[in-house]
Amino acid sequence: MGKERLDNAAPIVYGVKARKYELTERDFDESIEDPIDAQEVFDYIRDINDPEHPYSLEQLNVVQEDLIKVYNEKEDPWVDVQFTPTIPHCSMATLIGLAIKVKLSRSLPPKMKTVVRITPGSHNTEEAINRQLADKERVAAAMENPNLMSTVNQCLVPREE
């Protein structure tokens, strides 16, 4: 059996942002609070593997730091992450959205909520996918599905350094 046809056989590969942060004394000073910002959230999701290609979501420009908004409200903090499928009819968009959602749930503080949605105008069935990703019960049900989670987990396997 040959490999199924790829949605986007030749995606454009983009350069990645430098990631060497020099840690200073301040980073370890517990009297200073580091609020969560877009860069930190981007760091959590930039390395997610694309389900189709041997590239990360950052390399394919599916996730970008500019498309992340963080609302550090005291009572109800939340993060808004938009992602851009490589082509408007990408059938992997829901899976990618789910992978981002799962990775954020494993990374952010437990009480922080996440909204993961498609960048407006970048996908044919944007509304339907956004609805699915916003539906807590459907997301929870998806996370209970071992086959689906196995695919999501493949996307979350860290790359060899």
Partner: protein, 956 residues
Amino acid sequence: MAEQESIANFVEEIVQKSKTLREIIEILGPEVTSTDSETRESALKKLAGVISKLPDDFLAEEEVLLLLEFFLSRLEDSALSGGSVVLGLHHLVVHTKNLPTDCEIPLFQAIFKEGTVQSWSQKDRMRLFELLEFLLKKRIAGLKTLGFDFVLSFMRAASGERDPRCLVKIFQLYLEVVKNFDLGVFVEDMFELVACYFPVDYRPETKLNADEIVTREALLTGLESCLLSHQSFSLYVFQLVSEKILDDELSDSTKLEICEFLAKACLIFKPTTLVTYLDDYMTAFRSICLNPAERVHAKEIPSPVKNAIKYIVHCLRKDSENLEESLKSIADTSIENCEPFVLQAEMGLSGKALSLLQSIAETHEICARVILSKIFYWLGMLINANTVNAPQNKEEIIGETLPHIPVWLKIARTVNFAKPVQDALPGFFATFEGLEETAIKVMYQSAKELLLWKDLPKSEDITKFFTYLLDHMLVDLKENNEELRPPVYAFIRTYSEVDLENYVKILKECIGWDNIIRWDTPYDTNIKMLAEICCISIVNEESEQIFGDMIFSEKLVNVTEGSVTVELFKFNKDRTDRTVSNYLERWLYSGYNHLDLNDLGAYFQDIGYFLNNSLHEEVLRKELANFSEKFSAEAPRSRWFVLQCQNLDLMMQYLDKIMDAYFVGENPHLFKNHDLFTNTICPLYTAILNKEENWSEILEKYTAKLMVENPGMTRVCESRALFVAGRVEGVKMVEKLFENFIETPDHDIPLVADILDFEDRKYNPDLCKYKRTLMWKQRILCQFVPIYVRFFNGLAKDYEAKKSAFFKMLIQILRLARQIPVPQTHELLMILPIFCEALPMYSISQTEESSAILELVLDGLLELLKMAPPEKISEEALKIFLANFSEILSSQEHKIHIKLKTLDCLELMVKRCNSAVLIPYQSFTVQAIKKVSGSKKEVMRKKAATVRNLWELLKV
């Protein structure tokens, strides 16, 4: 059992002469002649058993002959039932001392000519081959009379053997046969007998016992020796290699193995038959090296191919008549076939194709000249990216090509073929200018090659190129670009060595030496850089004269970095002239005033490391002579230099003087400088004790005095000195050290672990040139850990203060373990239980001291998790670790560093341990990590996110 008993009884009766062997055979007679084959076999087994238990010289020649005849007559009968006959024959031939003369021919004929060896079981075949081995060693003369008959029978016996154990034996026999028998018309058949096993396709069966396993290497070596055992095999060998190396079904790694074999064959055989297959081999090399799918050897070509090419040319040299023609043909076909790979750079194989050509060019001048006539033109095209279609690829291709330029310049220099280089250089220089920073490293390397090329006329272009680089070098050194430093240094040194006059002249122009007197503080970096250049330029006596004068001139004196001075001594360490001593003299006189006492001591020691013994001693004598009568309390500059001395008298004189200054005085307590004791007296005492054969005399002389001053430190010094030297007393002293430590009050500073600190330059065995045993680090660890564990286990359960001192030692032990290339599994596992005890003691307690110990314990655990084989860490230990990690992460009190280290441990665990072992603890651990993912520090949240994700992925 009954059988064994009856055998034992028979043996006893025969040995005590109550029965003769004949009588025993008579007793067994009815069984031996029974119509039931099992009964017959059982009787033979008993008889063979009896014979094998008799003393070697018990049987007389006639008896042995009789038994041999008897067993041979039963040979076919026994083949189907059990093989006891073989056991009997094997024992009679191999072990009995009175083997009848002239028995070898009937034996050989019955077993190997008339019998079918391959129908026996593996064990019996092995015995039969051992029997043959014995005959070949002891009765070769008789066997030789058989001539071709022997060869034929041997081939029949060995043919079709599949068992690796028997094969190894056959390969040994094969060598004997080839050595002792004329193969005649059977040459090809003999070759085919073993050629069918090539290339070796065998993986050892792991279910066998370790001593039964035949390694692949043993089989391969045996087979290769057979294939190369006779000159008349040469045609078949080269043919076999050509057939196999072009076989598409064989993997690349197997083909590399064939290349290695080819290299060996070329060493042994004459080139006559090799020439026929040259084209095939070159095609095969190209297909191996220029395989686009193989990314492992991205830049270099595999060394077996390099070797094969080298030895092919070596073989061709044996035939001087046809040498030139063959080499030209190799070079021409390679040039022709590699051209598209080199020039169509976008295929990504230029680098490999150039490396392949390089390997060919390096083998012989004739090849080099043919290839060089093309290569520089190609390199010119590549670095200008003339052949590249997509502009995006240009940069990458230029980057890939540049490093090849100095390599080819070196080849051209070696064969002194200037023409193509002279044609290409102007183009190269123009391109270099355009590329600037990308090419700078290659420019230095190229310049070095051009400088070394004495016969190359130095055109104006070349001189300009050198001047440009000298000018550029000033910027590169000032920018502290560590990658560029080695090529810059190599360029400076070469220039200074081959053309000192011009070098000095141009350098002085570039730096504006005449104006240097006006340089002021803002130019400090310039001055330091200039001092560095001068220092690096010293490569012989002449350059030392000139640059020494510059360095010790008013403006530059005392600005040279100590590390650069050390570099000078390192480079010139093997020079036998006065360069080093002249410079050292000047340096000691006036070159170090800008360094503080500690740095000076350190650099002096580093310099001392590169001096030969006589110069080292000479310097030390001068240092000693300069000590004033009443030596002040300040430490001398040579205090660590002296540690490297090999002249013990000098060292002791030195120690005496320092001790006098330290201990003798009008009011010793008032003037005592403890730094002098800790950093000078103790290290010197240790070094002397370590190097002196009569160490006990030294101990006797000094110990009492030093003990009064600081007993703990003195004992540590003594233990360390003898422990490193590998003396038995060293181990005893370490044990004593532990005893003393346990007996002394809690507030005593625990120094025991200090003996494992070999990083400190005062006690570094290499730097101080201690007497040490081979693999001393490994030995010390293996000796220290059991003592450490024994004393720890002997501590009372509630003796917390002492235990904490033991825990602190863990990190020292593990740091030493990390420096040993072979994993010290046994020792690491010995200290694992100590971690299991340490963690619970500190994971809850949060005093400042306990936190410090916990941090050390976690550091140690991290090291342990990195090195110990994960499958050897017990589940019980893992459980304890995980429970305590959870405790640490849940605690509000523990500092961020401790929690981060805990997360590091969890990360290592999940990466290294078997997931099946960890899965039961997955949810528990994830819950624990969740507790820190809400941390207010980003660094902690990020670490927790990474580790948690890894734990969540466990089922994947």
